[in-house]
């Protein structure tokens, strides 16, 4: 239950309120040495800012980095500053130390997706937990059919990972569509909620795996749209969010119906939680 110590190696400001931290284990972190920095796409860490508090944040880096590209390996986290802890996190600089527990939780269905079309739908900060999956899909591109990324944000200023998005967009083996709720400035792209993109892209609904991450309401409508297109519930995966204190199933805060989001999730196959997902205040 004791966090390991990590040092901030790099800080990148993504948007006015969102930033990405690259964290390296501090030498001497006993547990870290044994465990190494490895994780599966979709998992999260508990990040502790000294004297402020601890919050769950998904890992947004590459789970299968090209060999020794960065050594030692790093945890990458993209966080939106919304409250006390995340705002304090936003003030960290290179060289600062923070506590890390993890990785925890379930991961995106990388195996199930093999040989299929992949539709990834992200809303806002929801792109961060999906990015590791995308990295992995792309690094084994031959294993998958079509790969589609649909991404919606509030405004053009909120778009994360701009440079990467451009690179991805330029690829022929990946379809990227970005939309904003409200266009501002010189935005020439799509306007509207992310679900409006679904009818516009082509995939084989019967052989598709969908990965969704974003606000609950956005996920609800995305599922409806995908189902309209004929994607089966068992092929839809969503990443859930609840209050978390321990991340290992003891504190009880993250219960969602019969599940604990920390250990049974955060990634769920939709049909397994469908019964609860549609209900209010679960």
């Amino acid at each position: 239950m004791l966090p390991d110590l990590y040092r901030v190696q790099r800080v990148r400001q993504e948007t006015h309120d969102t930033f990405t931290l690259e964290l390296e284990p501090m030498s001497g972190g006993q547990q870290v040495a044994a465990k190494g920095v490895s994780f599966a796409a979709g998992q999260f860490n508990m990040l502790y800012i000294f004297g402020v508090g601890e919050v769950p944040i998904s890992i947004s880096g590459n789970p299968t980095p090209r060999k020794v590209r960065v050594s030692p390996p790093r945890f990458v986290h993209t966080t939106r500053a919304v409250g006390t802890v995340t705002k304090a996190m936003g003030k960290l600089k290179r060289g600062d130390v923070l506590g890390v527990r993890g990785p925890f939780g379930s991961h995106w269905p990388m195996e199930e997706a093999v040989g299929k079309d992949i539709v990834m739908v992200a809303g806002g900060i929801g792109l961060a937990p999906l990015r590791p999956a995308l990295y992995q899909f792309l690094s084994q591109r031959e294993n998958y059919n079509r790969i589609i990324l649909l991404y919606g944000t509030r405004s053009p200023a909120d778009i994360l990972y701009r440079r990467e998005l451009e690179q991805w967009r330029a690829r022929f083996d990946l379809e990227v569509q970005v939309t904003v709720d409200q266009a501002m400035g010189a935005w020439h792209g799509n306007v509207g909620v992310v679900t409006t993109l679904i009818p516009r892209v082509s995939f084989d609904p019967l052989r598709t795996i969908a990965l969704i991450c974003g606000p609950e309401i956005m996920m609800r409508f995305t599922i409806l749209e995908l189902q309209k297109r004929g994607v089966g519930k068992e092929n839809i995966f969503i990443s859930m969010e609840r209050n978390m204190k321990c991340a290992i199933g003891f504190c009880g805060h993250c219960q969602f119906g019969p599940t604990f989001i920390c250990k049974d999730g955060p990634v769920f196959r939709y049909d397994r939680i469908q019964e609860w997902f549609g209900k209010r205040e679960i």
């Binding site: 209050n243 009880g252 219960q255 119906g257 019969p258 679960i282």
Partner: protein, 366 residues
């Protein structure tokens, strides 16, 4: 099955103490029978009993000198197995860095005296939560390993007991080192003893005892059978999980919400409820930080708070979460009901909300 007489109970206590156990068990404080440190059998609630019903608990004098002539009270053993408030770690700033200060915790060995069958089940359920899963809670594990359990088969049931419905009592069948049944007869106050573990047998060897005769063995059956007939409450568990899963939108939830105070008492008295929260604190200098873990309740707004608001902001949703967890989702999570039928939540709910009644209402008007 063995027999010890009333005086030998003192010898049992002394033996446990000699073996380094701190005795914890029933004693009277502030108008109730609570679990606290015991120094001798004189601390036990001799000649006292309790009367319980929804929202009420009263101590009453008994006509006899029964030692265990009461049922479960406001405390449960969880307070000893994972303390209500516990520091998890300390950290100290160290220039630009900080460091965790680890300290090995010394925990005293406890002997729990007078654990009831429903409580054994509750401990078994918490074992599932804390030590039988993928992660292990070190605080619980450390304390649990050291506990010696002296069980008592219930000689009476209270107005809020329903262990029979939950299949958790009144007779203890596992999980104890020694199990006693109190036989109160004029001039002959004695206990039958069943040995549950080798450890238990070892302790019993130091206490004067004899083999129970057939009549005495039969008495045990009579006593527990009589207790079983006295259950103050019943709960029909048929198909309970699906019943509740089917009824997330039952009007009864609104009805109970109109009475529920969202005070959280039910969760805190429940011997299986395990939820906690953490508080990250610092001192004035900002040099020292600590993390504390405290019992929490799914009835608080913070419990389900995520940025923007609480998920379960209505009391309806909070009561529903609690009851559905106890009786239904728990089964999916841990393969067992989360309720052992001890009745504490009924007695200690300040406005007498009754889990058995709520189930009945939902079943009735489905």
């Amino acid at each position: 099955m063995q027999i010890i007489d009333r005086n030998s109970l003192d010898i049992l206590f002394d033996t446990l103490k000699r073996r380094g156990f701190n005795l914890v068990g029933p004693t009277i404080r502030d108008g109730a029978i609570v679990y606290d440190r015991l120094t001798s059998t004189a601390d036990l609630p001799i000649g006292w009993t309790d009367e319980q019903n929804g929202g009420t608990y009263r101590l009453k004098k008994r006509a006899d000198v029964a030692v265990f002539g009461y049922t479960v009270g406001p405390h449960s053993w969880k307070k000893l197995l994972y303390p209500s408030v516990q520091r998890l770690w300390r950290a100290k700033r160290d220039g630009e860095n900080f460091q965790f200060i680890t300290e090995d915790e010394e925990v005293s060995k406890f002997a729990f005296i007078g654990v009831r069958s429903c409580e054994l089940h509750a401990i078994a359920i918490q074992d599932k939560v804390f030590i039988n899963g993928k992660y292990i809670d070190p605080v619980y594990k450390l304390r649990r390993e050291n506990v010696f359990i002296v069980t008592v088969n219930c000689g009476k049931a209270s107005g809020t007991c329903f262990c029979v419905s939950m299949n958790t009592g009144p007779r203890a069948t596992f999980g104890f080192d020694l199990a006693l049944t109190e036989i109160l007869e004029d001039n002959h106050h004695r206990f039958t003893v069943e040995v549950g573990t080798e450890r238990g047998a070892e302790i019993l060897r130091e206490v004067p005892h004899r083999e129970a005769d057939e009549e005495e063995k039969a008495k045990v059956e009579d006593i527990v059978a009589k207790t079983a007939r006295q259950m103050g409450r019943t709960l029909d568990t048929t198909d309970i999980k699906d019943l509740l899963y089917r009824n997330y939108e039952h009007p009864r939830w609104d009805e109970v919400a109109s009475r529920c105070l969202t005070c959280g008492n039910c969760t805190l008295v429940c011997p299986t409820c395990f939820c906690t929260t953490v508080e990250d604190v610092t001192d004035l200098t900002g040099e020292h930080a600590e993390r504390w873990r405290k019992w929490d309740s799914c009835f608080t707004m913070d419990f389900s708070y995520i940025h923007g608001g609480s998920i379960r902001s209505s009391s309806k949703a909070r009561y529903r979460q609690w009851m559905t967890h106890k009786l239904a989702t728990w089964i999916d999570q841990f393969g067992t009901s989360g309720c052992v039928g001890c009745g504490r939540c009924i007695t200690w709910c300040p406005v007498a909300i009754d889990i058995t009644e709520e189930v009945r209402a939902i079943r009735g008007k489905e």
